[in-house]
């Protein structure tokens, strides 16, 4: 990503964990997220028919995101990742851009859960979810590559790891086709490997290539 253009400020920068506004929004967002996951069980069981309430929750989440965006990118008093960053920088550190992007995606996923998108139950549904997660990992890698957050070599390595996960999923599908129930363990192993790839991607989201 390009270096952010320093903006004039009126107050010295502070780390994000010293900003009451940021902390308040994050706590509220986490509380809302926990409530959504709790409600998800009722939604998938078909006991909840009033979608309007969940649409309102989604709108509240959007409002929270807008408020968080406004605070993080405020030119009045920037927030930084660390106290050291606050001491040495008097302009936006730029760390928050990818973080905001990731939070936006998390809110999207939470919003989909709140609106009742079904959870996978059968092996085929879990397999499809695994393949879709691989697709998401590739799309995220592509976006990070185009943003120059990762190098082409990084992207190639991640792609190979995702390919390995996809191969594991396909093996699990083959095992399941041969004997029902035998592919479940392999499926879980492949998904565990995918978690490692996602962790790697997350570690790269805060960095930039030279």
């Amino acid at each position: 990503m390009n270096s952010p253009t320093p903006v004039p400020v009126a107050l010295p920068a502070i780390p994000f964990w010293k900003s009451p506004v940021v902390l308040g929004i994050v706590v509220a967002a986490l509380s809302a997220l926990a409530a959504k996951f709790k409600l998800q069980a009722y939604i998938t069981s078909g006991n909840v028919t009033d979608i309007a309430g969940y649409v309102l929750e989604a709108l509240s989440a959007v409002s929270a995101y807008v408020a968080l965006h406004a605070r993080v990118f405020s030119s009045v008093q920037p927030v930084t990742l660390t106290q050291g960053g606050a001491d040495t920088k008097n302009s936006q550190a730029g760390f928050a851009r990818v973080g905001m992007l990731v939070s936006l995606v998390l809110m999207l996923v939470a919003g989909c859960a709140a609106l009742g998108i079904a959870q996978p139950k059968t092996f085929a549904q879990q397999y499809a979810t695994g393949v879709a997660a691989c697709t998401t990992a590739l799309s995220t890698t592509d976006t990070l590559l185009r943003a120059r957050t990762i190098t082409p070599a990084d992207a190639t390595n991640i792609e190979r790891q995702v390919d390995n996960v996809k191969a594991g999923l396909d093996i699990a599908q083959g095992l399941e086709a041969a004997t029902t129930g035998s592919g479940a363990t392999k499926l879980q192993q492949a998904l565990a490997a995918l978690t490692a790839v996602q962790t790697y991607l997350a570690s790269k989201q805060g960095s930039t290539t030279p």
Binding site: L101, A128, A132, T135, T140, L145
Partner: protein, 81 residues
């Protein structure tokens, strides 16, 4: 955020959003109808994976071409700076 970052955020939002919604729709429909995913529906998920794979391959190739020395390396096309 500069316009490029906003565009990237929107792109990721739309891409992943479509994937989540499409998969959720497939699973929800199957569960509502009391059946499992059909081979055609599984193929649809696999096709999305193949498309994302091909797109990443193309962008890796373009990034490598752009990073190559100016002597003899053609500039990448279709990749944002």
């Amino acid at each position: 955020m500069n316009p490029q970052n906003i565009a990237l955020a929107l792109q990721l939002l739309i891409t992943i959003g479509n994937q989540v919604v499409n998969l959720g729709s497939l699973i929800q429909t199957a569960q509502n109808e009391g059946r499992d995913l059909t081979p055609a529906e599984l193929a649809q998920v696999k096709d999305a994976y193949a498309a994302a794979h091909a797109q990443l391959d193309a962008d890796i190739a373009a990034a490598n071409a752009a990073a190559a020395p100016a002597s003899g390396a053609a500039p990448a096309s279709g990749t944002p700076a």
